[in-house]
C-alpha cells in the first residue's frame, strides 16, 4: 500500500488522508510517477492550500488545447477557503481526462466538507494514518526492505526499531542505508549494530558542528544525547578537534581561491571546504587557537580520568563557543 508506484493509471481525483507525512508524500509521489510513466512531459503544479485563489484550480484543470496532461497537487488541503472547496468538490464530480488532481488532507475536522464532498464525488481515497503500534512499524520496516529487494531478519528489525525510534522518515532512511551497506540478501542483527555504531559516531560530529557554529544550547543538548547513547568521550573530542582543524586549515587559505583548487592542497573535499568557509563566520585566529588548545586539554582530561568526562566536554564546548568572537 505504501508502494503504489507503478500502479498504472491514477484516478482522476485522489484524496490522501492522514497525518503520516512520509506516507502522504509517498502517496503523492506515486500518483505523480504513474502519470509520468504514461506521459513523461506531464506538468506538475504543486500548491499549498492556504494560497490557492478562487478560480485558480478551475483554470489549471480546464482541458488544454493540445491535450497535454498535468497533475495538480494541493497540500494542506484543510486550509482551502470555502469558495475553493465548493469549486473543487464540483470539479471532482466531473473531472477532466487530462488532469490528475491530488488533495492532501491530514485528517481531522478542519476542511471536512472537502473530504466528504470529494469522497461522495467518487475520489480515490488513500489513508496514511500515523503508525501507533510497534507491530505496524515492524511491518513498515519489512516493507521497506521488500521494496529495496531485500529482507530483514525479525530480530534485526526489532533492533533497528529500538536503535532508530518511531519516526518513519528516519526509519526509512535507516532501511535504505542498511540495504546499501549490506551485501547479504537478508539484513541481520550484526549489520544493524554496525549501522548504529556509525550513527553514534555521527552524533559526535553534530556536537562539533553546533559548537563551532556558536550554538551553545544545541551543542550541549547534542552532547548529552551522544553521551547518553554511549558515544565514547574520546570520539567527541576527536570530532571537536576535526571540526576546528577544518576551520583552521581553511582560514589560512586565500579567501578568493576556488574550493576545487584548494581541495588538493588542504587535503579536504570541496564540500567540506565550503562548509568550513560558512562556519568560519565569527571566528578569528586567536579564538581558533584558544579553542584548539581547549580541545587538547579536554583530551588530556578525558584520558587522564581525573575529571568527569562529561564535565570536561561541557567546559570545552563552552570555551569553544566563547572563543568565537571574531578575533
Amino acid at each position: 500500500m505504501w508502494h503504489a508506484a507503478g500502479m498504472g493509471n491514477a484516478a482522476p481525483v485522489t484524496l490522501v488522508s492522514g497525518d503520516e507525512e512520509l506516507l502522504a508524500d509517498r502517496a503523492v509521489a506515486s500518483v505523480v510517477s504513474s502519470v509520468r510513466a504514461a506521459e513523461p512531459t506531464a506538468e506538475v503544479h504543486d500548491l499549498v492550500g492556504a494560497k490557492v485563489e478562487p478560480g485558480e484550480l478551475t483554470r489549471l484543470m480546464s482541458p488544454s488545447l493540445f491535450g497535454d496532461r498535468s497533475v495538480v497537487v494541493v497540500r494542506n488541503a484543510q486550509d482551502l477557503t470555502k469558495d475553493v472547496v465548493t469549486e473543487t468538490v464540483k470539479y471532482a464530480a466531473h473531472p477532466s481526462d487530462d488532469v490528475t488532481l491530488v488533495l492532501v488532507h491530514p485528517g481531522g475536522v478542519k476542511g471536512k466538507a472537502l473530504v466528504d464532498g470529494v469522497k461522495k464525488a467518487g475520489a480515490q481515497v488513500v489513508t496514511v494514518a500515523k503508525l501507533t503500534k510497534a507491530g505496524e512499524r515492524i511491518d513498515f520496516i519489512r516493507n521497506e526492505f521488500r521494496g529495496l529487494g531485500r529482507t530483514i531478519a525479525p530480530a534485526a528489525a526489532h533492533a533497528l526499531l529500538d536503535a532508530v525510534g518511531s519516526d518513519l522518515r528516519e526509519l526509512a532512511a535507516a532501511c535504505s542505508q542498511l540495504a546499501f551497506d549490506t551485501q547479504e540478501k537478508t539484513v541481520g542483527e550484526a549489520a544493524v549494530a554496525r549501522y548504529h555504531r556509525g550513527r553514534a559516531e555521527v552524533s559526535g560530529f553534530n556536537v562539533a558542528d553546533m559548537a563551532v557554529e556558536g550554538k551553545l544550547a544545541e551543542a550541549l543538548e547534542q552532547l548529552r544525547w551522544a553521551l547518553s547513547t554511549g558515544v565514547a568521550p574520546v570520539l567527541i573530542v576527536s570530532a571537536l578537534a576535526g571540526g576546528l582543524r577544518s576551520l583552521a586549515k581553511v582560514s589560512g587559505a586565500p579567501r578568493n581561491a576556488n574550493e576545487n583548487q584548494l581541495a588538493g592542497r588542504l587535503g579536504m573535499p570541496p564540500w567540506k571546504i565550503r562548509n568550513a568557509r560558512r562556519q568560519l563566520n565569527g571566528w578569528g585566529p586567536e579564538g581558533l587557537s584558544r579553542a584548539i588548545q581547549a580541545v587538547a586539554t579536554a583530551d588530556e582530561q578525558v584520558k587522564g580520568g581525573g575529571t568527569d568526562a562529561a564535565y570536561a566536554l561541557e567546559n570545552t564546548i563552552q570555551t569553544i563557543v566563547h572563543s568565537r568572537n571574531g578575533r
Binding site: V234, V237, S238, A241, R245, A248, K249, V250, S251, G252, A253, P285, E286, L288, S289, R290, I292, Q293, V295, A296, T297, D299, E300, K303, G304
Partner: protein, 393 residues
C-alpha cells in the same frame, strides 16, 4: 683497556663499576666483597648509554678478568649470547606481569659458568605496577648468585620500593666533545661533521650517530627546525602539526613493517607449518591464534612507542632551538645546539622577548607530557604549534 673504556663521557660511573666488578670477583673467590650488591639501577638521560653501561658491567661480572673486552665471555655478553645473561628490552609501551614472572624464573637458574646469573632489564620503567611488584619480590630475596641490572631514565621512574633496594648508577649527558670523539674514532665520521651532529644531538650518542650516518634523519631534523619560522597563521600551524605527526607515523611504519612480518613468519613456523589459505589464523594449530593475537598486540604497542619516540625527538630538537634563542637573547656564553643556524637564531631572538621564548619552551614540555599521557598526537601537536606561533594564549 677494559669494557668500561667504551662508555662515552661516563668516567665517574666507570670508576664505580670497576670497583664493584673487583668486589664481585672477591665474592666469587670467597671473600666479603664489600661494594657488590644484587640489584642495580642504571639511570640517565636518553642517549647517555644506560643499557651500554649495564651491559659493560654484565661483561665485567661474567668475564674471568673483570671485563677485559676481548675474551669469549665479554664477546658473548656484547652480542647477547652468553648463557648466564638474560637480556630484556621491552618493545612495547609496557611490560606485563606474565613476562616478568617468566623472567624471574629464568633468573633463578644456576650459573652455568660458575660465576653469576645476570639479568639485564632495559627500560624497566615500562614494567606495569603488577610486574614491578613481582620484580620487587625477586629483588628482595634473590638467589645468592643472581644480579639484577635495571635501566630507567630516572630513579623516580621506578616504584620507590624497588628504587630503595637498588644501588643507583647515575649516568650523565656526555659532553659534545666526548660524543664527537666517539664518532670520529669508532664510526670514521669526519671531525667537522662529528662536532656539528654532537652539538645537535645534545649529548645523545645514538642520535648523534644517526644524524652523522643517516641522511634521512638529517633531513627530518632540518624539516623540524624549519617549523618555527613557518608558523605565520593558524592554517600553517595546523599544517606543520600534520606534517610532524605524519613523519612520526612513517617512522613507526618503516621501523616496524619488516620486523612485524618476520615475527609473524616465525610464529607461523612454530604453530602452523606450511599452512595455506586465507587469513592469518588459517591453518594454525591449537594455541596459534592466541599467540598470534598476543604478538599483534605487542606489535601495535611497539608501533605506538616508536611513533611517540619519533615525535619526542622532534620536540627535543625544537626545544633545543628555543633554548638557543633564549641563550642568544640573554647573551649567555653557552654552546649552542644549533650553532650552524646562527643567523636564524638571532632573527628569532630579535623578533620576540625572552618571556615568550620561555612560554614556548614550556609549551613544548607540556606537549611532551600530553603525549606521555596518551593524548591524541595530532591534537597535542596542534596545540603546541599554535602556542609556538602565539605564546601569549
Amino acid at each position: 683497556m677494559d669494557v668500561f673504556d667504551d662508555l662515552v663521557g661516563q668516567e665517574q660511573a666507570a670508576t664505580v663499576l670497576r670497583r664493584a666488578a673487583a668486589a664481585a670477583a672477591e665474592v666469587l673467590a670467597g671473600g666479603r666483597g664489600a661494594g657488590m650488591t644484587h640489584a642495580w639501577l642504571f639511570t640517565g638521560p636518553p642517549g647517555s648509554g644506560r643499557f651500554d653501561a649495564a651491559k659493560a658491567f654484565a661483561a665485567a661480572l661474567l668475564c674471568p678478568d673483570q671485563g677485559c673486552g676481548h675474551c669469549d665471555a665479554c664477546h658473548q655478553v656484547m652480542i647477547g649470547s652468553h648463557p648466564d645473561l638474560e637480556s630484556v628490552r621491552p618493545q612495547g609501551l609496557s611490560y606485563g606481569v606474565k613476562q616478568t614472572r617468566e623472567l624471574i624464573l629464568r633468573a633463578a637458574g644456576r650459573s652455568t659458568m660458575g660465576r653469576w646469573r645476570v639479568v639485564l632489564f632495559d627500560d624497566a620503567d615500562r614494567a606495569t605496577e603488577q610486574a614491578a611488584n613481582a620484580l620487587l619480590k625477586a629483588i628482595e630475596e634473590p638467589p645468592p648468585r643472581t644480579v639484577w641490572l635495571l635501566c630507567a631514565p630516572a630513579p623516580d621512574d621506578m616504584i620507590i620500593t624497588i628504587r630503595s633496594r637498588c644501588r643507583v648508577v647515575t649516568l650523565v649527558t656526555p659532553s659534545s666533545q666526548a660524543v664527537a670523539h666517539a664518532l670520529v674514532t669508532r664510526d670514521d665520521v669526519a671531525p667537522g661533521v662529528a662536532e656539528s651532529v654532537a652539538r645537535a644531538a645534545q649529548g645523545d650518542l645514538a642520535r648523534a650517530r644517526r644524524l652523522a650516518l643517516d641522511e634521512s634523519a638529517r633531513g627530518r631534523r632540518e624539516a623540524v627546525l624549519s617549523i618555527p619560522k613557518s608558523l605565520t597563521n593558524v592554517g600553517e600551524c595546523i599544517a606543520a602539526a600534520e606534517k610532524l605527526v605524519k613523519t612520526a607515523d612513517e617512522d613507526a611504519a618503516a621501523a616496524t613493517a619488516e620486523l612485524n612480518e618476520s615475527e609473524i613468519a616465525e610464529l607461523r613456523a612454530i604453530y602452523g607449518e606450511g599452512s595455506t589459505g586465507k587469513g592469518l589464523n588459517k591453518g594454525l594449530v591449537r594455541g596459534g591464534a592466541g599467540a598470534l593475537k598476543e604478538l599483534e598486540t605487542a606489535q601495535k604497542s611497539r608501533a605506538t612507542r616508536i611513533k611517540r619516540e619519533s615525535l619526542d625527538t622532534a620536540l627535543l630538537d625544537l626545544m633545543a632551538f628555543y633554548r638557543d634563542v633564549l641563550a642568544v637573547q640573554f647573551g649567555a656564553p653557552v654552546e649552542l645546539a644549533n650553532g650552524d643556524r646562527r643567523a636564524e637564531l638571532e632573527a628569532a631572538a630579535r623578533a620576540s622577548r625572552p618571556e615568550e621564548t620561555l612560554k614556548r619552551t614550556a609549551a613544548i614540555m607540556r606537549c611532551r607530557e600530553r603525549l606521555a599521557a596518551n593524548v591524541n598526537p595530532q591534537i597535542a601537536v596542534e596545540a603546541l604549534t599554535l602556542a609556538l606561533w602565539k605564546p601569549g594564549n
